[in-house]
């Protein structure tokens, strides 16, 4: 597909555009990393888009510059950018952890628990902001959306660092093995000494944490966060993970797959735009491609077995 696109539209292959595509995929790509853990454990997290918005508005409100017209904390001195970043991560992890707690303790389906969290977090974002965007962020905050050495976008760096951390977490730690075990056979995991409850909470907390991080990147790039931001991003992130070969029946999946899946979607959007495809038609094409990609992937796996 990438080759096809670069022939049809040479602009596609310019380094500028490549970074552009990666930057575009960074936000839902980061969320897809967390979703990979969730989906391997045979769960789902529908809340990441809303959690992005909620942690995003909170972080932004702590990182507004003095001249912001609607300042949330007028008496607050300007704080180092680390404060809003940490705030976003903590809020995200708490939201995710709460979903995880509900799933682990009450055994309600993840679909329901995170659907609830999705609605609650969106509502909280709206209450907190009274429906208005939080804007005029301090320069050190918006710098996160910028580039180092004028070439490499910081969102891409953050994204890659998280890919590496997530890969190590998933393949080289006990937590990662537990994630596969829980998705592979939850009873057997329990008997083998896996603390299923604690691990479920950790899985969803990690997903929430990454949604919080995605919020930081979002705020840095856009310069403001609207309480309605990132609506539907959870579905793009889930699609990325699924295109990357992570199985919803649990126990199967890789971080690398999620990265490739996110890239496929970003390339697709970018390519269709460069080719001048009408925005409405883009959606139709995207939907078809998602389904076809997963069918091909499953066929390939079925042959391997």
């Amino acid at each position: 597909m990438i080759i096809g696109l670069s022939i049809a539209q040479p602009a596609f292959l310019s380094s500028h555009n490549i970074f552009n595509v990666l930057t575009q995929s960074a936000i839902f790509g980061i969320m897809a990393l967390g979703l990979t853990f969730v989906i391997i454990s045979k769960g789902i997290d529908l809340s990441v888009g809303s959690v992005l918005a909620f942690s995003g508005v909170i972080a932004s409100s702590l990182g507004q510059s003095a001249e912001a017209t609607s300042k949330y904390f007028p008496n607050l001195p300007i704080m180092p950018v680390l404060v809003p970043i940490l705030a976003a991560l903590i809020v995200g992890a708490l939201c995710g952890g709460l979903s995880g707690f509900l799933i682990a303790k009450t055994r309600i389906p993840a679909f329901i628990a995170t659907l609830g969290m999705m609605t609650v977090a969106r509502g909280m974002a709206l209450i907190y902001t009274d429906g208005k965007p939080v804007s005029t962020l301090i320069p050190s905050f918006t710098a996160i959306g910028g580039k180092v050495f004028g070439v490499i976008p910081i969102p891409v760096i953050i994204y890659f660092v998280m890919i590496i951390i997530s890969t190590i977490l998933l393949s080289n730690t006990r937590f990662g093995k537990n994630v596969y075990a829980i998705g592979g056979n939850i009873n057997a995991a329990e008997v083998s000494g896996v603390n299923v409850k604690r691990n479920l909470i950790m899985i969803y907390a990690y997903s929430g944490l990454l949604a919080g991080l995605a919020a930081v990147v979002f705020a840095g790039r856009v310069g403001s966060v609207h309480p309605g931001a990132a609506t539907g991003y959870e579905l793009t992130a889930i699609a990325s993970t699924t295109i990357g070969g992570t199985s919803h029946s649990g126990g199967i999946g890789t971080i690398w797959g999620a990265f490739v899946g996110a890239l496929v979607l970003a390339v697709l959007r970018n390519g269709l735009t460069l080719l001048g495809v009408d925005a409405y038609w883009q959606q139709v094409v995207e939907g078809v491609i998602i389904v076809v990609a997963v069918i091909i992937d499953m066929r390939k796996n079925a042959k391997k077995d």
Binding site: I168, N172, T173, R174, K177, Y180, A181, G184, N185, N187, A188, A189, E190, V191, S192, G193, V194, N195, G251, I252, K304, D305
Partner: protein, 504 residues
């Protein structure tokens, strides 16, 4: 040759999977009205051959002549129409549906409006269950049944197709003596009706008791076929293994030390009451009893899988409070559970992770990362030690033969190097050669001063391996006896059926 004599002739069947040649051109001939045994070590290809026959996966090459006609490719549904039904080695009941829905799945009786006729289904189910002497309401959900009951339902289902050829792939591995006797009665009745049965089991006494002819395979190859009565045991084992197997229960006497585990007045809300026993270092305690006697539940409660109601557990004299398997493992306990599929294997995960999962902390380095090289080395060591037949450590466990899946689980728990090891039917579905190997390992562990509690439905195994034997009946301990030369199976059975109780 007399064409009519054979119901089934499979000739030169080859079956390959990626990286594995499971069948390398094997034969099988089954007569009308014959009970025909398939024998061979774990991974010899017995189940694979039967799946080819039942239309689950077509053979890569070879011919199948059934009922006098050469058959092309066919599906499971067509196989059933042809009169071939199969009881699978791995049970796959639909847990949250009723017995009757499971039995009539895909062929539910309809009324004149084309809707499912539940009344007829119910009545027919009672009929079917009566045939195998099972006293359950057909509306009971499968989850509520024991593994043995599920297996009996599976058997009832296979029979209800009224097939000419019934394949039974290790049907008795989840059954106890009583149900096995029932099953043999059913098999003899079917045979008298002129039906043929293909029977797979690793238990030699069963083969001699019920089968007419045996075909032996080894490593995907056909070794030979004989009438059962003309084939002495040692010769059959030699055909299977390719060498002599010395001793079946290589129990070495070892010095029994201090008290290790003491269980006092353990009770469960539902399954058992006032169970007390102890195990010393270096001792093997066997637990015998019928299905439903609470044996499994006792050890699962000690391990924190089930919640006990009251009672105390002491390890080396200190009372411990084990609430979860995690607690149990940190107290150096290990358990090989009864139900391989439900609480044992991770089907689509690798052999490696399946073996290592209970033991990951051992392989962590200072910063919490897994030292893979060491982990792989140790897995390979165990693969060799207990002869797990797998193309690589990365193979999915679901692609291993049933016996080899069991070996992976045995390896998982041996790798944790426990002080107290609970084994629930440890050699279920394991071939004779490896069985003696696993028995040797258990014995060796006891020799190292570990305590072993072994639940087994095979009385010879319990009697061959244990120092002492505890017998349970309906949730209560009816006897704890020293194992000695003059202990008989009959005596144990009388405790197990509750007709006699020894002083406890």
């Amino acid at each position: 040759m007399d064409e009519e004599k054979y119901l089934l002739e499979m000739d030169n069947i080859v079956k390959t999977f990626p990286g594995v040649k499971a069948l390398k051109g094997v034969n099988l001939k089954v007569k009308h009205g014959e009970i025909h045994a398939l024998m061979g070590e774990n991974g010899a290809g017995k189940s694979t051959l039967m799946k080819c026959l039942a239309g689950i996966h077509p053979p890569t090459s070879g011919t199948i002549i059934y009922d006098g006609k050469k058959q092309g490719q066919y599906t499971t549904a067509q196989a059933l129409q042809m009169g071939i039904s199969m009881i699978h080695q791995e049970l796959s009941p639909i847990l949250h549906r009723s017995i009757m829905e499971n039995i009539w799945l895909g062929r539910e009786p309809r009324n004149k409006f084309g809707l499912i006729d539940h009344q007829k289904m119910y009545v027919d189910s009672i009929e079917v269950l009566k045939e195998i002497d099972i006293n359950e309401d057909p509306k009971t959900h499968m989850v509520e049944l024991t593994v043995a009951k599920m297996q009996m339902i599976e058997i009832a289902k296979a029979i209800s197709y009224d097939s000419k050829l019934i394949i039974m792939d290790e049907p008795t591995s989840a059954l106890t003596e009583k149900e096995i006797k029932q099953l043999f009665g059913i098999m003899r009745r079917l045979k008298a009706q002129g039906k043929s049965i293909i029977y797979i089991s690793h238990k030699l006494d069963e083969i001699y008791e019920v089968t007419d002819r045996v075909t032996v395979y080894r490593d995907g190859e056909y070794i030979g076929a004989e009438d059962t009565k003309d084939l002495p045991e040692d010769k059959m084992i030699k055909m299977m293994v390719g060498r002599e197997v010395s001793e079946l229960f290589p129990k070495t006497p070892c010095s029994i030390g201090d008290l290790m585990l003491e269980v006092e007045n353990l009770s469960h809300r539902k399954f058992f009451k006032d169970v007390s026993f102890n195990v010393r270092k270096g001792e093997i305690l066997g637990i015998a009893g019928l299905v439903g006697s609470g044996r499994t539940e006792v050890i699962e409660s000690i391990f924190g899988i089930k919640q006990k109601l009251s009672g105390t557990v002491k390890i080396e004299g200190k009372e411990v409070d084990i609430k979860t398997p995690e607690d149990a493992i940190s107290n150096h306990l290990a358990i090989l559970t009864e139900d391989r599929r439900m609480s044992g294997i991770f089907p689509m995960l690798s052999v490696r992770l399946n073996m290592a999962i209970a033991n990951i902390p051992k392989y962590l380095n200072g910063v919490g990362l897994i030292r893979n090289r060491e982990l792989i080395r140790e897995c390979n060591e165990y693969v060799k030690k207990i002869q797990v037949k797998t193309p690589s450590l990365m193979q999915k466990v679901e692609n291993l033969s049933g016996g080899n899946q069991q070996k992976v689980l045995v390896a998982r728990w041996l790798m944790t190097n426990p002080d107290i090891l609970f084994l629930d039917e440890p050699t279920r579905g394991i071939d004779v050669g490896t069985k003696s190997e696993i028995h040797r390992l258990i014995s060796q562990l006891a020799g190292e001063g570990k305590s072993i509690v072994m639940v087994s439905s095979e009385l010879p195994e319990v009697m061959g391996m244990s120092d002492r034997i505890m017998v349970m009946h309906e949730g209560r301990v009816t006897a704890i006896v020293d194992n000695s030369e003059d202990l008989t199976q009959e005596e144990l059975m009388s405790y197990a059926t509750g007709t006699v109780a020894a002083d406890v």
